[in-house]
């Protein structure tokens, strides 16, 4: 009989869902078994179903979701030992899709960036190599650097960090930049994934670090760089750990170091630089300052990093997802890549699906798929079948897209036209219970806190906008506030040096554009239609229905609910903190909020 492989997903999301005890249990159950191999893999993207365990035998893979100790015992006993599939917990067999859903997730996906994620052990370079790893590099070094750049240009690959600048052009600039010493150039990977709601880079680094490293080595060959830096968020400890292991293995195999793959003078090595928590460091000039150990503040361009970057040396910067595409493009050719896509956006994009959706996680789709397909087919639609209200794209720099624009295709230009941006690919879906004014306030609070303070418009302007939004959500707004917000927004965009300030007003502008009536409801009617803004809502008990079970009183953290047992209870509005626990704990739903 062929060897059986049992995999368990142990990326951050798997561990957060309780994957570690399951893995331990699995090791215990299969201890000493020669016929079964346990593989600890990364994230396959079905985060909503974690912890995930797959049984792979005779080329067929069965994946089980929400695995706990009991389910695991059944999987081992029935599937591993007796070859009987545990149907109730099966969510996926290779080539097919989660059962019980009409909308297959896998068939709509095209996995280029995520080609290995969740399938290989990220700590084992041999597994990466066995799936065509480092073959793109081998192919690249057999051609001239200029040909590599041409291939990337032809593929149409654009920066996946958000702005969408053609990668091949960036490489061209860095190659053409004059360095005092021929190869004294830097190649940087921006892994400072700071957009709240985006986690694809974390997942790739945790689950398939070699794909990024190989992409960087190819980039180094193309632009002629000898120093590599991966600037990674310190909030991603597992990504940092896996990168360290992968870099060491790549060195041992001669993919990093001197005369790589026996190409004379092709010397390149990479070190990991941990960030220290500053959103603005995702901006490339701020990132460079941070690499040099300074405060991460942006500076005017030109000079562009291609000519004067890290330590004033020519520097090329791309993000994680961009580099992860590169080995695939080199191996399969530009034509294989750009046959996916729409307009000037080629290839695929990885989206981090979160918010009020049924199936949160990662999905990689060809550019040009509609937002509707991503949200309703791939992410399974809205939780508890509530009504869709908006999708927030591109994090704090992005915007909210309303339902009537759901057929917008995902490509850089079409999304920009809505006022949002592609950004790094975070998609936070909101339903009718989400208040868009509150969301706008939330983003403003974020950028206001993260503004580095260099440009007065960004530093002071976002503060003023935040104050106005706080006033509105507290029911103290006036109608002129809306115009004031739009006016400030325009000025901040004009008067800011870097992308943070230039895009900070986007969430406010798009929510005013598409949901002005909600602003008006807060200002004029003093109501929050989504019942979120605590100053504008109040909880009350329907005395005619209340059975006096006192569960609300018990749940209340501030003792605002009073009443005799078996008698209707009463909420003291002055003491109430609007946490909603009373409503949640009421067995007969007699507490309402309005």
């Amino acid at each position: 009989m062929n060897k059986t492989t049992v995999t368990i997903g142990l990326a951050s999301c798997g561990i957060a869902s309780g994957g570690l005890p399951v893995a331990e249990e699995l090791e215990g159950l299969l201890a000493g078994r020669e016929d079964v191999e346990i593989k600890k893999v990364g994230c396959v993207g079905y985060c909503y179903m974690e912890p995930l365990v797959s049984v792979i035998r005779d080329g067929k893979s069965c994946t089980y979701g929400k695995v706990n100790a009991n389910v695991l015992h059944r999987i081992v006993d029935e599937h591993v030992n007796r070859n009987l599939v545990v149907q109730e917990h099966l969510i996926l067999t290779e080539g097919t899709e989660p059962k019980g859903t009409e909308n297959p997730r896998g068939e709509k996906q095209v996995r280029i960036v995520l080609r290995n994620s969740g399938l290989i052990d990220p700590k084992n370079i041999d597994e990466y190599i066995s799936r065509d790893g480092y073959k793109g590099l081998e192919k690249a070094v057999k051609t001239l650097p200029d040909e590599v750049i041409k291939e990337v240009l032809d593929s149409g690959l654009r920066g996946r960090g958000g702005a969408g600048f053609p990668t091949g052009m960036k490489w061209r600039f860095a190659r053409d930049a004059k360095a005092a010493d021929m190869r004294d150039k830097y190649l940087v990977c921006n892994a400072d994934e700071g957009d709240p709601g985006a986690f694809m880079d974390r997942s790739v680094l945790e689950s398939d670090p070699h794909s990024v490293i190989e992409g960087m080595i190819i980039g180094a060959y193309a632009v002629g760089a000898s120093h590599g830096v991966i600037y990674c968020r310190a909030e991603y400890p597992m990504a940092v750990r896996h990168l360290g292991i992968a870099l060491e293995q790549a060195r041992q195999r001669g993919f990093l170091g001197r005369d790589i793959l026996d190409v004379p003078d092709f010397d390149f090595d990479i070190y990991v630089k941990e960030g220290a928590g500053a959103f603005v460091c995702g901006e490339e000039t701020a990132l460079i300052a941070s690499i040099e150990g300074q405060r991460g503040m942006p500076r005017p361009r030109p000079p562009f990093p291609a000519n004067s970057g890290v330590w004033k040396k020519p520097t090329n910067i791309n993000n994680v997802e961009t580099y992860a595409n590169v080995p695939w493009i080199l191996l399969n050719g530009a034509g294989a890549f750009n046959r996916y896509g729409h307009g000037r956006s080629k290839g695929t994009k990885v989206f981090a699906l979160a918010g009020k959706i049924k199936k949160g996680g990662l999905a990689e789709v060809p550019m040009g798929m509609s937002l509707r397909e991503v949200i309703f087919d791939i992410a399974g639609g809205i939780e508890n079948d509530r009504k869709f209200k908006a999708v927030q794209l591109g994090g704090p720099s992005g915007g909210c897209v309303p339902d009537y624009l759901l057929d917008t295709p995902v490509d850089y230009e079409s999304i920009n036209a809505t006022g949002a941006i592609m950004g790094s690919g975070g998609m936070v879906v909101m339903d009718e219970d989400t208040c868009v004014v509150d969301v706008a306030r939330f983003f403003l609070a974020f950028v206001q806190k993260e503004s580095c303070g260099k440009c007065p418009f960004c530093r002071v302007g976002t503060k003023r906008m935040l104050e106005i939004l706080e006033r509105i959500t507290q029911g103290k707004g006036v109608l002129e506030d809306i115009d004031k917000l739009l006016n400030l927004a325009a000025q901040i965009k004009d008067g800011s040096l870097c992308g943070l300030g230039q895009t900070a007003p986007n969430p406010v502008q798009t929510t005013i554009k598409y949901f002005r009536d909600e602003y008006v409801a807060h200002i004029v009617d003093k109501k929050c239609p989504a019942k979120v803004c605590s100053a504008l809502i109040r909880y009350s008990v329907d005395a005619s229905k209340c059975i006096g079970c006192a569960r609300c009183a018990k749940a209340c953290p501030v003792g605002a609910v009073s009443g005799e047992p078996k008698r209707p209870h009463l909420i003291d509005d002055a003491a109430c903190v609007r946490c909603g626990l009373c409503k949640k704990n009421c067995p007969i739903s007699c507490i309402s909020v309005d």
């Binding site: 951050s12 999301c13 561990i15 957060a16 869902s17 985060c47 909503y48 994934e193 700071g194 957009d195 709240p196 709601g197 985006a198 986690f199 974390r202 310190a234 909030e235 991603y236 400890p237 941990e274 960030g275 220290a276 928590g277 500053a278 959103f279 941070s290 690499i291 040099e292 150990g293 300074q294 405060r295 991460g296 503040m297 330590w311 981090a352 699906l353 979160a354 918010g355 009020k356 949160g360 996680g361 927030q392 994090g395 975070g426 936070v428 909101m430 989400t434 969301v439 939330f442 983003f443 974020f446 993260e450 580095c452 749940a555 953290p557 501030v558 903190v577 946490c579 909603g580 626990l581």
Partner: protein, 170 residues
């Protein structure tokens, strides 16, 4: 001998920081990892520590403070035994992390950045932990707790408090 940082004497502080200083001597642009190592050793970036490493390495303390105060990672007060990092990212916000935050503030009696008097808990709000599909999420030291409700978050902390109380009173 006077105690300076967290009851540590100046000479002891210097002895503890000396290996760190040696590691970074002559290295350019190493302010961030240097400060991170100081924080790892002492639990926070103490003023006396910055003055000491700065004078040893020839970096003006003001420059080091400038860097340290820029980044969210650095702390200037002793931290609790458990650092509770509640995610206040978008996905968590939409899923009700503000309610969790309010409840944690009530339970611990501290606000964002505060440490309980018994030095058991420090509460911090962070931008995004990247576990958006498990929102709302908090990280307690290195352990992630997902799909939180206000009750669940408090239950996690009560469990930890129970564990650490005998230790502290010992």
């Amino acid at each position: 001998m006077t105690a300076v940082a967290g009851g540590v004497s100046l000479s002891e502080l210097e002895a503890r920081l000396f290996p760190i200083v040696e590691r970074y001597r002559g290295r350019e642009g190493a302010a961030i990892p240097l400060l991170a190592d100081v924080q790892k050793e002492l639990g926070y970036v103490a003023e006396e520590a910055v003055e000491y490493v700065g004078s040893e390495l020839g970096i003006p303390p003001a420059e080091l403070f400038g860097v340290a105060t820029f980044y969210a990672m650095f702390r200037f007060q002793p931290q609790g035994k458990y650092v509770v990092r509640l995610c206040r990212g978008t996905a968590c916000h939409v899923q009700g992390s503000a309610r969790v935050a309010e409840q944690l503030e009530r339970t611990l009696g501290v606000k964002d950045g505060g440490t309980t008097e018994d030095l058991i808990f420090t509460l911090q709000y962070v931008a995004c932990l990247g576990c958006c599909s498990l929102a709302p999420v908090m990280l307690v030291n290195d352990e992630v707790h997902g799909r939180l409700t206000p009750e669940k978050a408090v239950a996690v902390l009560e469990e930890l408090r129970k564990k650490s109380v005998p230790e502290v009173s010992r």
